[in-house]
């Protein structure tokens, strides 16, 4: 059963088809769309888990779409990076469950089926992006999750939602075109679109076009990943979107940019000398993003904007790890991709629950909420502690490994940057926890608030305990991503 070959395409096809059908099936009963979307996401998660079990048993495997041989047709590949699909399915499922009560207020009720359709299509695009082994297919799936993300941001009733979505769209489309242009250059150079095949044909014998393609891909994916200094679309878009969408955007869509960067590193593994300047740039921009993002988060008053800037900081961490290019730092960065996804979705969902129950989003207004919404605030506090990287929580492993990698690479100054950014993150974490638990309420809506319904606190609590669980599972996860690290930077085993 687990060896049935067609599980792999199902990973992308199932949510895409389910998403397209949602508005058709639930045009007249918008409230039922939630159950449909959650069951599709659960099935997708089950498929992803089945693929993960097979990956653990027998290593990476491929699938030739339509029976065409990989070099000619489209190839799907499930490897350690593609295994992020499990996290994607998990977080999408919990976000959809959370959406049930949230969306009724945050989105026009008639549009609820469209909202669920877009979330499912977003999940399908992400899954396809994670498992494809074909460059053009990579672009197509990237557009599927990007366009659905633009539309999801615009779904919110926030007054700035349309403008934030438009800014996100213009910058996102620019980055997509850079990627497509580079795919064209790679195709013109190698005559193939298969990533593994092109990686073998690309070398440094033609440095000019190869450097052009590398620069285009890196710049394009850096915008998608919101790497400093091209992060400025992110705070508006993530703060304006409905909370479950913010969770998916920060946890998954931004990480797809990181995965795109990983695929770029795989693609240019054979032209190692071209990668060196890019890796140095990644470390510098990552360090600037980690410090700048954390500082900007510290001065925000709006809780969702604060979380959005903290995403910029964490993307900075991940890029430092990838740019250092040592085994421990790169493995730490990959683990941090998953861990930050769980932490940040917990935080955005908690913020969403608070906004849903009180209508307040200013941190100072939330004083004293810990007594009124104990479960939500507990989850939020746990995730905030985890975000700052206190051991043994999930945020610790990635940062520790990246710091070790910085020492290995002989850059002790970077460790200082990492510690400084960590301290700033802890500072704003403590600021929020202090407001929630140790200050008297200043707003009537706080003093009369009640805790969120089960469909909201259950996903939150699962994610909050995931923050601890992933922290304890650090060693197995590092071992799991080790083979993927081998494939980067041209260190082919």
């Amino acid at each position: 059963m687990i060896d049935w070959p067609h599980w792999l395409p199902l990973l992308a096809v199932l949510p895409l088809v389910g998403g397209v059908l949602t508005p058709l099936l639930f045009y007249r009963l918008p409230t039922a769309a939630c159950f449909w979307a959650a069951s599709i996401a659960a099935l997708t998660l089950a498929v992803a888990v089945a693929l993960l079990v097979r990956l653990l048993g027998s290593g990476g495997f491929g699938y030739a779409v339509g029976g065409w041989l990989p070099q000619y047709g489209i190839e799907l590949r499930f490897d350690e990076i593609g295994a992020l699909a499990v996290a994607a399915g998990f977080i999408a499922l919990l976000s959809l469950v959370f959406s049930r009560h949230y969306v009724a207020r945050a989105v026009d009720p008639d549009r609820a089926p469209l909202y669920y359709a877009l979330v499912l299509i977003n999940l399908g695009g992400l899954n396809g992006f994670l498992v494809t082994g074909d460059l053009f297919n990579l672009f197509v799936f990237m557009e599927i999750f990007s366009v659905s993300a633009y539309a999801l941001v615009a779904m919110a009733r926030e007054p700035i939602a349309a403008l934030a979505a438009l800014k996100y769209l213009l910058l996102g489309a620019l980055s997509s075109l850079l990627v497509l242009f580079s795919v064209g250059v790679v195709f013109a150079m190698t005559g193939t679109l298969n990533i593994a095949d092109a990686a073998m044909r690309l070398d440094a014998s033609e440095p000019m076009p190869a450097a052009l393609a590398l620069a285009g891909l890196a710049a394009g994916f850096a915008v998608k990943a919101a790497l400093f200094p091209v992060h400025f679309w992110l705070p508006d878009a993530h703060a304006a979107a409905p909370a479950p969408v913010s969770a998916m955007l920060s946890a998954l869509v931004v990480k797809a940019g990181v995965v795109g960067m990983l695929r770029t590193l795989e693609l240019f593994g054979g032209a190692g000398e071209l990668l060196q300047p890019l890796l140095i740039l990644m470390v510098w921009l990552g360090a600037a993003g980690a410090l700048g993002g954390a500082l900007m988060a510290l001065v925000q008053r709006d809780i969702k904007r604060m979380l959005a800037y903290s995403t910029v900081a964490n993307i900075g961490y991940i890029f430092i790890g990838l740019g250092l290019a040592t085994a421990s730092a790169a493995a730490g960065a990959m683990v941090h991709v998953v861990n930050h996804a769980v932490i940040k979705s917990a935080l955005f969902l908690a913020a969403g629950a608070i906004i849903h129950r009180t209508g307040l989003r200013n941190i100072d207004d939330l004083r004293g909420l810990g007594q009124r919404m104990p479960v939500t605030c507990f989850a939020m506090a746990l995730a905030l502690v985890s975000l700052s990287g206190v051991p043994p929580t999930a945020g610790f492993i990635g940062k520790w490994q990246i710091a070790l990698g910085a020492l290995d690479a002989g850059k002790p100054l970077l460790v200082a940057v990492l510690v400084a950014a960590g301290v700033i993150v802890l500072a704003f974490g403590i600021r929020v926890i202090n407001a929630l638990y140790f200050r008297p309420p200043a707003r009537m809506s706080v003093a009369t608030a009640t805790d969120s319904p089960a469909s909201m606190w259950l996903p939150l609590v699962i994610l909050a305990f995931g923050c601890i669980g992933l922290g304890l599972a650090g060693q197995p996860m590092l071992q799991f991503v080790a083979p993927a690290v081998q494939g980067l930077y041209g260190i082919v085993p």
């Binding site: 007054p159 213009l170 209508g359």
Partner: protein, 135 residues
Amino acid sequence: MNVLATALGHVDYLVAVALFLIGAWILVTSGNLVKKVIGLNVMETSVFAFIVTTGMIDGGAPPLVVEGMEGPYASPLPHALVLTGIVVAVSITSLALVLILRVKSQFGTIELDEIVPTDEVRGAEDSDAIGGNDD
């Protein structure tokens, strides 16, 4: 001389890159949202033109395996790619235009520097505050 010859040999690529940069310039510098979308479309066209020309072969035959048609064949793959790319571009353009309509109805303008974000929805009304506790 050598560089010039190489450049003239790939004049189509140069045109594509020039168009791409023109489009990017419009997209980044223009303050008018519709003009930004037009810049985006110019960029899209340049990328599509570039990909189509990569499939061209001097004196190449149409890629049809029939009697009397002999190689070298032009590559048919870029056309399939560009067709997909055009579909994506159309959907992005339409979404962008709809969003511009919404921006126009909310702010009354499509010039970026005339848009003043309203901050009133942030935070709660003052009637919500508990008296004397607001330090």
